[in-house]
Amino acid sequence: MSLFLWPWPSSLFVALGVPTLHDTIQLDEAGMVQALQRGDESVFSAVMEEYSGSLLRLAMSFVPSRAVAEEVVQETWMGVLEGIGRFEGRSSFKTWLFRILTNRAKTRGIREKRYVPFGLPGSDSDGDDGPSLEDSLFVPEGSGEGHWADPPQGWEADTPERALLSKECRLAIEEAISGLPDNQRQVITLRDVEGVSAEEICNILSISETNQRVLLHRARTKVRRVLDPYVRGGKK
């Protein structure tokens, strides 16, 4: 029987709380999947707590409003329940989850007239922002051409954790992300905020590795620029 497939009693999760669940999932994803397949309510509750914030963040990059994004998250979990019986662990659970969300969000985004599939006219397919994002950072012509216009300074003043304690700084980053073209926003959210591997992102979003890196580079370059005034030594 299934008694020993799931080595931790469900009540333990509740007792340990959400943060430790993440580590436990890493330890034994197969056990978690089996518990979901059995319909273990406390495991579902804990997994849903763990991932819904990430799903919501990603959903918001596909659809025009937070309310619609919340609906997409709900639909995603319904998709998980429908599909969990067939989940074979060929990808990680998280990748599978993000892929379900992406499919639902794309369908929803098309209905809401926001999401345009990659490669179609008007889709901003590589998130192109003109010739080079770096142009503005360098001296354009004459003597000094190719030199940094404003040489980057050290940012050692604070750790990222400390920088994020400033609400202004955090809001500035969130705004910078939400202001990105959708596909850049999706890639930076998955890669840097959620820590998904480049290979898995290509799988989730159905894009090439080169395209993934181009989008990531543009997105990171813009976020770095927004962050600069907040973490420059001496300035605030």
Partner: protein
């Protein structure tokens, strides 16, 4: 003058990666998609150029900061609705006898 000399030295030693190229290629470098020789050229430039070294650190800092962003808060009503839908699903599953029951040998 000194800058020109340094620039020349870097051009000679670092296989002509300019500062702008370093900025343009920084994600390729960080994502590990460089060939060995590109990596060496990049690192040589970084070793000689403080501005690019700072830029690289800033990029790493940016990535680390993004990784520390707090989770998007999910409203309790949404979670409640989800748990209700879960219970409905489970009831349907057990009345159909699968897959919630699929642990028994077939």
């Amino acid at each position: 003058m000194e800058k020109n000399f340094k620039q020349q030295l870097m051009g000679y030693m670092a296989g002509n990666f300019t500062c702008k190229e370093v900025a343009q290629l920084i994600t390729e470098y960080l994502e590990g998609s460089f060939s060995l020789s590109q990596r060496v050229r990049f690192q040589m430039h970084i070793g000689l150029c403080l501005a690019c070294r700072n830029y690289l650190r800033q990029m790493k800092y940016t990535v680390a900061t993004l990784g520390q962003l707090p989770a998007e808060p999910v409203p309790p009503e949404v979670k409640e609705a989800l748990m209700n839908r879960f219970r409905t699903w489970k009831k349907e599953q057990s009345s159909q006898g699968s897959p919630a029951d699929s642990q028994k040998p077939s």
